[in-house]
């Protein structure tokens, strides 16, 4: 397995993580969730290329998985019940899903939440690029509003490297393996909307 990636995300951070293949996916995904569980953070993930069972097995090793799931500290969903609930990606519905989740957890004991959205479903269900860009731009503000750390995962083995170039233009920071790439030429969504 590829060495785990130390992300050190803070509240309000939103990173698009790019990796090549399942092994590198696990190197980003699993430590991010496990560190959160060990720190007492709420961990919420939407998975696509891996299963909740596989993730639970790895991130709860030595912990009481049933208790973590029952308390809601660990909450895992699949793309079929979220991103593709209606068969195609509808950004407004997905945004509503996250907003509802955040609102429901606002008064809970876990003040800080780690949120993961795996985007591998784009390979099977192509969608208009403006939908993805709009969704990712919304996530910037969402992370700040709810004190969340958000990690969006893109597999360039599945999706090709072109998507990385697109998101480089629309995001201030990208995560590439263990390296965070900043884009000083990034334009906020408000400016892009008027462009």
């Amino acid at each position: 397995m590829t060495s785990p990636v130390a992300l050190n995300l803070q509240a309000g951070d939103h990173l698009c993580g790019f990796y090549y293949g399942d092994e590198e996916r696990d190197a980003m995904l699993l430590p991010f969730l496990r560190e959160g569980l060990l720190a007492g953070d709420k961990c919420l993930a939407v998975l696509d290329s891996t299963t909740p069972e596989a993730v639970i097995t790895h991130v709860t090793e030595g912990l009481d998985a049933d208790a973590l799931l029952a308390s809601g500290q660990l909450e895992l969903h699949t793309s079929a019940t979220t991103y593709l609930r209606d068969g195609a990606f509808a950004p407004d519905e997905m945004i509503a899903f996250w907003e509802d989740q955040a609102a429901a957890g606002a008064g809970a004991e876990h003040g800080f939440a780690r949120v993961v959205g795996e985007m591998s479903w784009l390979e099977r269900t192509p969608t208009a690029r403006q939908n993805v860009v709009r969704y990712e731009s919304w996530a910037d503000g969402f992370a700040l509003r709810f004190n969340h750390a958000i990690l969006c995962l893109y597999d360039v083995r599945r999706l090709g490297s072109g998507i990385m170039l697109e998101l480089m233009r629309t995001h201030p920071k990208l995560l590439l393996g263990g390296l965070i790439l900043e884009n000083p030429h990034h334009r906020p969504a408000s400016q892009r909307a008027t462009a």
Binding site: R158, G160, L181, R192
Partner: protein
């Protein structure tokens, strides 16, 4: 027919999906911001490509980036080997034409012809001094100078990444070969150390057989030239089971090993015949009816046979030395000269001449016999635990035995005909003539 690999909408290496990937055209930002963002994106792709160890993955990353860098697409990659490695299906005639065009293509790249494409361009991919191949891009119109610069940079970085991946592969191959060599050397060293330990500690036949057994995991044995078992060791301490063995086949196997100078296989064994001077005097083997013994076991057998040869040579040398010393002792005693020196030499042989000794002279009446045959017969008839001192004297053999020694076996079948033995018993320094009473102990046929 070459297939498209790694081009947007055409799948990825190892997973030809045939589905269209999402299209991500440019966001309408200012031209400068656009260009700078693209350069940073190219940097990100370069970082990803440099981490790949599989050059197909590098090509996948490169070809899927083209349409996001410029308003065109990747038609494919033509490697310097002539392989159409990462591109759409292409007719063989088109491919041959493309190869010919690229042979005369400028170093910085240039236009090429692709059927159905209004514009197509070959971008060289270089790794240091080598041309790796060309990234071929195509579109309905030229992408403009800025786009072409980005694409040229992408091709350059791709060439470096491929060179990097190949370097890693060659390094891994070299490391694997080195690791195998080191492992083989360590194994040989372990074999050498094990048998050296046997030799240094005087492990003898049994030590050699045990070491061979432990190193190979197979039952091991040592036999003399005649097939008598000298030592045996088995992983589960099972007793040796002698296999029915035609003498001729066994001898042929030994000869085969001696001629080849290496172990021979037969009779369910892998054996090495050991030669000391000019004679085959021993056989070292592992029991291997299933033929599982390989290179490592053969090496162990060869090392073991070397140590066995040394051991046999040592034993032979000791026997010869003892024989020669015995002759000297007897010569001194019979001649009545150098008695004190004879006593010291006898002590070196473990003989106490202050004890009563019996002198036996064995000769043959009426007919001549080969002295060596007679000597051999006498030695064979004596108690092997208390070997006598022997010497030729004329046509007789003189033997000196301690009185407590077991007498010559009268029923020996090795005696030459008409063999007669006479014995005198006496004590050194008290005078042989005074106390000796000549007697005929036994007369042969």
């Amino acid at each position: 027919m070459p297939r498209l690999v790694g081009v947007p909408g055409q799948g990825r290496p190892g997973a030809q999906t045939g589905r269209s990937a999402p299209a991500f055209p440019f966001v309408a930002t200012s031209a400068l911001e656009e260009q700078l963002s693209s350069v940073r994106g190219l940097l990100a792709i370069t970082l990803l490509m440099m981490e790949r160890r599989d050059e197909r993955e590098v090509l996948h990353l490169a070809t899927t980036a083209v349409s996001a860098l410029a308003p065109c697409r990747a038609a494919g990659v033509l490697l310097s080997s002539g392989e159409w490695a990462s591109g759409a299906v292409i007719e063989s005639g088109t491919l041959q034409r493309l190869r010919r065009e690229l042979e005369s293509c400028p170093a910085e790249g240039g236009p090429v012809g692709l059927p159905g494409e209004a514009w197509a361009w070959a971008l060289p991919m270089r790794a240091r001094h080598d041309l790796v191949g060309h990234l071929v891009v195509a579109g309905s119109a030229p992408p403009g100078d800025d786009g072409l610069v980005l694409l040229r940079s992408l091709a350059q970085q791709t060439g470096v990444a491929i060179g990097n991946a190949r370097l890693h592969v060659s390094k891994e191959v070299a490391n694997a070969a080195l690791a195998r060599s080191v492992a083989a050397l360590q194994h040989k060293t372990a074999i050498h150390d094990r048998f050296t330990s046997v030799a240094l500690t005087g492990g003898g036949y049994q030590g050699i057989a045990r070491a061979l057994c432990e190193l190979t995991g197979l039952p091991a044995g040592i036999e003399d030239r005649g097939g008598a078992l000298l030592a045996w060791a088995a992983p589960d301490d099972t007793a040796p089971i002698p296999a029915p063995r035609p003498a001729r086949a066994w001898n042929d196997l030994i000869e085969q090993s001696l001629r080849a100078g290496r172990p021979a296989r037969g009779d369910g064994r892998l054996l090495a015949a050991v030669r000391v001077r000019h004679d085959a005097v021993g056989v070292l083997y592992v029991i291997d009816p299933d033929g599982v013994a390989g290179e490592d076991e053969t090496i162990a057998l060869e090392h073991g046979s070397t140590v066995l040869a040394i051991e046999l040579a040592r034993l032979l040398s000791v026997a010869e030395t003892e024989l020669r010393l015995g002759v000297d002792v007897l010569a001194d005693l019979v001649g009545g000269t150098g008695v004190a020196a004879a006593v010291r030499r006898a002590e070196a042989l473990g003989r106490d001449l202050s004890r009563p000794q019996r002198v036996v002279i064995v000769g043959v009446h009426r007919s001549r016999v080969d002295p060596d045959v007679l000597l051999h017969a006498v030695r064979g008839a004596m108690d092997s635990m208390h070997p006598p001192l022997l010497m030729h004297r004329g046509e007789t053999v003189v033997a000196l035995l301690e009185v407590r020694s077991v007498p010559i076996a009268p029923a020996s079948t090795h005696w030459p005909p008409d063999c007669e033995r006479r014995a005198w018993v006496g004590r050194l320094n008290s005078g042989w003539a005074e106390s000796a009473t000549p007697r005929t102990m036994w007369r042969g046929r």
